[in-house]
Point group: C2
Chain length 190, copies 2
């Protein structure tokens, strides 16, 4: 590894937001998956969660998005399993959903440990997932289309979190938030 | 037309931001074009600009995105032509570009009449376009990827504009900003 590359990876690790994540419920278009994982990388997310209908997706999902291993995609058998894992990590679970109970997405405090649920391209988030989430949020729209593209909606959520966390000083370089073992894995495999 | 539909379109027109637009320089993937136009609709943009390399794209671009005619896609022969049109409308021209002279995208005042330039998936914005733009802006990234997906970057720009304009009261319902002729066209053709 060149010194430049070492510095680059080191920098990246120093800005990682280990208490922020995304959970994709049956998002299945590869270009959406790829764009979402790329945005996660950009705001410093190291691990995202996914539930896929077909076992095949797990594989192609990984290929499309995780090829460089910068962002780990963790597949779960069910949304219940995924939410259990995220709640065990102390995260509030925010569902992006076009419902009457949804609040404006900018009203949430994303400096708290947070998992953001994103729904399937056509059907959105399942009732099961909504029942388990702490709060529904909506991104305001004034046009004729019913919804935004899912990778666009994910990015808007994540950069609102980035904005709040930046203001709160949470993007100051850190070294103690990633365990040595994980750090070495990334340095070696990257 | 049902009364519900009439009300819906009327509402949409009342929130349109006629002095905000996007110019896509050779963006060519259809799913990106579609996502961009959908986001434009969501923040109330009525007209976007595009420059395409191949005459064919004009057609497919229109099909993918403009089928409902809510957002007009105006094709130009060159970026110089496009920028001339936008500047004649009194707009500041903001180029999204990963350069050293770029400022953070949130530092711009988007309550002014504004055109946002977006670059091609692989090559970004041309030197020609950059020379004509008033300011380069960058969306901060702390990961390993070099850039964001173009439809994601467009959405982040537009929702920063939406946030500022909302705060400035620019999403209050209006009726005098769209000419009767244009209004009737939309009501009829929609
Ligand atoms: C294309 S939308 C699905 C629309 C689906 N028909 C519904 O009603 O939920 C795919 C996903 O993008 C997210 N999304 C899209 N637009 C959104 C908005 N305006 N607010 C919040 N989330 C949105 C949600 O996660 C949604 O499940
Ligand atoms: C995939 S990028 C092109 C990258 C190209 N290699 C370059 O260096 O410009 C496509 C377009 O998305 C926009 N974009 C992507 N990431 C951006 C960022 N972090 N800041 C500003 N614009 C960005 C720009 O309009 C860019 O031209």
């Amino acid at each position: 590894m060149t010194p430049e590359r070492f510095t680059r990876i080191d920098q990246m690790l120093q800005h990682r937001q280990t208490d922020l994540t995304v959970c994709m419920e049956k998002v299945h278009k590869l270009h959406n998956l790829a764009a979402i994982v790329r945005t996660c990388d950009a705001v410093g997310i190291s691990e995202v969660h996914a539930i896929w209908d077909h076992p095949k997706m797990r594989l192609s999902g990984h290929t499309a998005t995780g090829s460089q291993n910068w962002v780990q995609v963790k597949a779960h058998d069910s949304i219940t399993d995924a939410i259990k894992v995220m709640k065990a990590q102390g995260m509030q679970v925010i569902a992006t959903n076009l419902s009457d109970t949804a609040v404006d997405f900018r009203q949430i405090d994303y400096t708290k440990p947070t998992a953001i649920l994103m729904g399937q391209e056509k059907d959105g988030i399942t009732a099961e997932a909504l029942a388990l989430a702490d709060q529904d949020v909506i991104i305001p729209m004034v046009g004729m289309c019913q919804s935004l593209n899912v990778s666009v909606a994910t990015a808007l959520m994540l950069y609102e979190a980035q904005r709040q966390r930046e203001l709160a000083g949470m993007y100051q370089p850190k070294t103690d938030h990633i365990e040595k073992q994980e750090r070495d894995r990334i340095m070696f495999e990257g």
